[in-house]
């Protein structure tokens, strides 16, 4: 039952073939069976999940009209607040903190009766591309436990790939939903910035952060997208407009007559051979489905990574200032009349990991008087140029496409001491965040050389998220008929489990 898609589970729940309690229990059992190896979860809320599942079953029994995903379990990235449930952001500094309020995403999940299984592992404060920066130890890629599951949302992606949950919530600041999806053979969507409320998403970089759906199929992602998206008065950057019709687009999957733009700069040198092969193959399948493939150029994308590593750390240096031991979380050195200043310093010294400190220092420097114009100011200009590149490209194409990442999953530890190599992993995903547009990664097969999944990225204009679902669903259908079975059914690491 856990190998079904979320929409299949939803149908079985609706028909009464299974109960939410049974379905939830099956996932909890899977977590018990495999998570010691995968380590996708930081916290499993067994009691809460089963209680919620029972309540949904009761509602269904009483004939109440339920939402499409009612009773389906979900894994929540540990960067989202959920009332009463530990929320650590993968950091020691928040160890033991239980938020007194629900994030808007969680409120929407609850409103839709989606059962939250627990909180998933992540790079500390979402800073990283491998989940190795979690203070609670790395998550392992179910395709090969010696490899990274991507990051920062490696826990959510691994939970999907290991059938510990059919749905998950991720957040994407520079690729944290899409890159883990790519390297675990799952689907991850970063909606248009402002499409999903950020209220209760513990901020890394406010102008880039965006929560979104993670799933094993394009339709499942669309169903979850509709459940969590929409205007929220608590987030002033939330867009006050109807949610794009993503479910309808995913169901239709029609690309006839659509222009699909291949971004010249996001391919070629530096991209693994197997990644390029799968990408070319996907383009052929889309062309065969009736799309027109065109080439577009985005000359300013080459500055995206550099600008990102000024903007995101700048914002993070300010966003993370609140972790000062005064009101919540870790407190170190509060004895013998220690001053507030010394407690703050010690707590931050002990509570933050290396990568977080690196970015706080970088951001503090970039915002400093005398450097602001050269660093933060220039980065903002680059951001404008990237947005203009996208605008021009979208004049020629309805969506843009690229490989999601230059490579397949690398080994745990391989890039841990080389931050620049790690940062390069996000070279194709970052421009999307810089421009605030939508981006999706879906599996396009495995690389011939290593047998590891390769992601295909689709980018759509602001609030035209439905377009990436149309293209994603079309490609998914074409690939599925080529493979004959879902890619994840071939996953080797968990072959032993049911």
């Amino acid at each position: 039952m856990i190998r079904n898609s979320a929409s299949e589970m939803a149908s079985k729940l609706a028909s009464g073939e299974i109960t939410s309690v049974a379905l939830t229990q099956a996932h909890l059992d899977q977590i018990s069976a495999v998570d010691k190896d995968v380590h996708a979860f930081l916290h499993v809320d067994t009691e809460g999940a089963l209680a919620h599942a029972a309540a949904v079953d009761a509602k269904r029994k009483s004939g109440e009209k339920l939402s499409p995903l009612a009773g389906v379990p979900l894994a929540l990235k540990d960067v989202m607040t959920q009332k009463g449930i530990p929320t650590t952001c993968g950091s020691k500094i928040l160890e033991g903190w239980r938020p007194p309020y629900d994030s808007t995403v969680v409120a929407n999940l609850k409103k839709n009766d989606i059962v939250i299984l627990g909180k998933t592992n992540m790079d500390e404060f979402a800073m990283g591309s491998s989940t190795e920066n979690s203070a609670y130890g790395p998550t392992h890629n179910p395709w090969d436990l010696t490899r990274i599951p991507g990051g920062s949302g490696g826990g959510s992606a691994a939970a999907l790939a290991a059938f510990e949950a059919p749905l998950a919530i991720g957040t994407d600041t520079g690729g944290s939903i899409r890159q883990p999806a790519a390297v675990t053979g799952t689907v991850g969507v970063k909606p248009t910035y402002g499409g999903v409320s950020r209220y209760g998403l513990v901020a890394f970089s406010s102008s880039l952060d965006q929560a979104g759906p993670c799933a094993r199929t394009v339709l499942d992602a669309a169903l979850l997208h509709e459940a969590i998206a929409g205007h929220d008065p608590k987030d002033s950057t939330s867009i006050n407009a109807p949610v794009p019709a993503v479910v309808a687009a995913a169901k239709t999957g029609n690309v006839k007559g659509m222009k699909i733009g291949v971004v010249k700069e996001l391919n070629g040198d530096g991209y693994q051979k197997g990644v390029r092969t799968r990408f070319e193959e996907s383009l052929e399948l889309l062309a065969a489905a009736g799309a027109e493939i065109v080439e577009v150029s985005a000359p300013n994308f080459e500055y995206a990574l550099a600008a990102y590593y000024l903007i995101a750390p700048s914002e993070c240096s300010s966003n993370l200032a609140r972790f000062d031991a005064m009101r919540y979380g870790l407190r170190v050195g509060d004895k013998d009349g220690a001053s507030a200043e010394s407690v703050m310093n010690l707590t931050r010294e002990v509570g933050f990991g290396r990568e977080v400190k690196r970015r706080i220092i970088l951001g503090t420097y970039a915002l400093s008087s005398g450097y602001y114009d050269a660093y933060y100011g220039s980065a903002q200009k680059v951001r404008t140029l990237i947005t203009q590149d996208f605008n021009k490209a979208f004049e020629k194409a309805d969506v843009l496409v690229s490989p999601t990442c230059p490579t397949t999953a690398f080994k745990i530890g391989e890039k841990a001491n080389d931050p620049l190599a790690m940062y390069l992993n996000d070279i194709a995903t970052i421009p999307v965040n810089m421009a605030g547009i939508g981006g999706m990664s879906l599996p396009s097969g495995v690389a011939d050389e290593d047998g590891l999944p390769v992601g295909f990225q689709i980018m759509s204009p602001v609030m035209k998220d439905d377009r990436m679902y149309s293209v994603g669903a079309a490609l998914e259908a074409a690939l599925l008929s080529k493979w004959g079975a879902p890619l994840l059914s071939t996953i080797p690491a968990l072959a032993g489990s049911k």
């Binding site: 903190w97 914002e315 703050m344």
Partner: protein, 502 residues
């Protein structure tokens, strides 16, 4: 070497810069829905947003924007069609986010002015104070440092934090540098803050209580040799909690600067804290090395882009400027300048106006507020406005005097009773049994008793020696416990003894 103020201004020209912080009186905070009521139990008016819990986001209070635009318009500013919030980053325990949401290079109102008139040796003179900017920000929480000698964070045993104030909307009004006020600098500054306060009050956007901190002034002062056009080093005096303190603080700083300069010492760029008791300032934080607040645009808030039509509507709805309003009242009431100033200085102008609006004669209304009520306030050492007596009470008392239901003397008792908390005038009159004795037969009985008691005096009056009547009138008043109208007693007595007023 101690200098006199006259010696200072003979040699140096002061240059001022004034920063006024105003707490807006919106019912909710700047970026969340928490209540702003003053004096609640610590940390009861807080939420995830103003406590800066992880994940919480600010949203802008529209009412605060409206109030700020009104202030900008009243100060003759241009309203920016597009302005932004910015983060001012620094660590302090009572600032939950460890950054303050403020406005930096894109404030909402710019380039205004306020004209203030003060009395100079050459008669009344108008000084124009140019306003550089008016911007919005949020207040911090409050720290209470317990133990230690200074009440400051250093040396304290522990500190208590109250976040009720965190996020209260603040508006900061910053002047351009103000040269050319010469020896009148302290008075000009005081008049400016007073004018601002009056304008803000007339707009209804703030309680403007300096003593409660809803209006706070930081005074920047520097001196330069008369004739020089080079600015001197400034000091910034904080904690100036009354209009009088504004004047004292600036005067004190001018003297302190001049003494240093005369001694060949340099003035240190720093904040200074005004000491109410001594009138002097104490050194605070050095500003020699400019603090780096790492300002950048607040990414959690969209820019403020007020609709032009809305701004015009707010402009059209602005109340009359207080200085103009005052001139108009003075004309209507035909009050001499001195009396007008007395009302302004005693801060009773609006309550007198309210009393007049309720039907009282302007002269009588003024007389009560500046006279008896003012006297009681002095006696109790409180502000007139803090006495528990309202314009409606005074208007009622004036009306009762007009109808002859109270004598002036009795009316004073009623005023005293109202202030003593005995209730509204009617309640005081009832409770104290205050009543003008108007009943002629009762008065006549008292007059007859008086004449019988002092037959010789009565005879003198009968014989035409009218001054003798005073003693008899006194007896009658005593007999009626002061509740009779003395003029009436006199008339009845004289008639009774066959006399009339010459």
């Amino acid at each position: 070497m101690s200098l006199t103020y006259d010696e200072v201004v003979a040699k140096y020209e002061p240059v001022l810069g004034l920063e006024v912080h105003v707490e807006l009186n919106t019912s909710s905070k700047m970026f969340c829905g928490c209540s702003t009521i003053f004096g609640a139990e610590p940390n009861t008016q807080t939420c995830p947003v103003c406590l800066a819990l992880p994940g919480a986001l600010p949203t802008v209070n529209e009412k605060a924007i409206e109030s700020t635009i009104k202030i900008g318009l009243a100060l003759n500013c241009s309203i920016a069609p597009f302005s932004r919030f910015a983060r001012k980053n620094y660590f302090y325990p009572d600032m939950p986010k460890n950054f303050q949401i403020s406005q930096y290079d894109e404030p909402i109102c710019v380039n205004g002015y306020v004209d203030v008139e003060i009395e100079t040796d050459e008669g009344p003179k108008v000084f124009r104070i140019e306003v550089e900017r008016v911007h919005m920000e949020e207040d911090t929480g409050k720290s209470l440092h317990v133990g230690g000698a200074t009440g400051r964070i250093h040396g304290a045993e522990y500190s208590l934090l109250d976040y009720n104030r965190a996020g209260i909307p603040l508006v900061e009004i910053v002047t351009k540098i103000v040269p050319g006020t010469g020896k009148y600098a302290p008075e000009v500054a005081k008049a400016y803050v007073a004018e601002l306060r009056d304008i803000l009050r007339s707009l209804g956007v703030s309680d403007v209580k300096m003593e409660q901190g809803s209006l706070r002034c930081d005074a920047n002062v520097s001196l330069r040799l008369i004739g020089s056009d080079v600015l001197g080093t400034r000091s910034e005096t904080k904690n100036v909690n009354s209009l009088r303190s504004v004047e004292r603080a600036i005067r004190g700083e001018m003297i302190r600067h001049a003494e240093r300069l005369n001694n060949g010492e340099r003035v240190v760029q720093e904040t200074r804290h005004f000491q109410e008791d001594t009138g002097l300032t104490r050194s605070g934080r050095s500003k020699e090395q400019a603090e780096d607040y790492r300002y950048f645009p607040e990414p959690d808030l969209v820019p403020v882009a007020p609709d032009a039509a809305w701004i015009e509507q707010l402009r059209a709805d602005l109340p009359e400027r207080p200085s103009i309003h005052r001139k108009r009242l003075q004309e209507q009431w035909a009050v001499p300048d001195k009396e007008m100033s007395a009302m302004i200085n005693a801060d009773v102008l609006d309550v007198v106006e309210a009393t007049v609006a309720l039907g009282a004669d302007p002269t009588k209304a003024r007389g009560w507020w500046l006279g008896e009520i003012s006297r009681i306030a002095n006696e109790k050492d409180v502000a007139i406005k803090d006495l528990p007596i309202a314009a409606s009470d005074v208007a009622e008392i004036v009306a009762l005097v007009n109808t002859g239901d109270l004598t002036d003397k009795l009316a004073r008792q009623v005023v005293e009773g109202v202030i003593a908390g005995e209730g509204k005038p009617a309640a005081v009159i009832a409770a104290r049994g205050i009543k003008v004795v108007n009943d002629d037969s009762a008065l006549m009985a008292a007059i007859e008793r008086a004449c019988a008691g002092q037959p010789e005096t009565a005879q003198k009056v009968r014989d035409g020696h009218l001054p003798a009547a005073g003693a008899l009138i006194g007896m009658v008043m005593k007999d009626t416990k002061g509740q009779a109208d003395a003029a009436k007693v006199r008339a009845l007595l004289l008639a009774h003894l066959g006399q009339s007023e010459g």
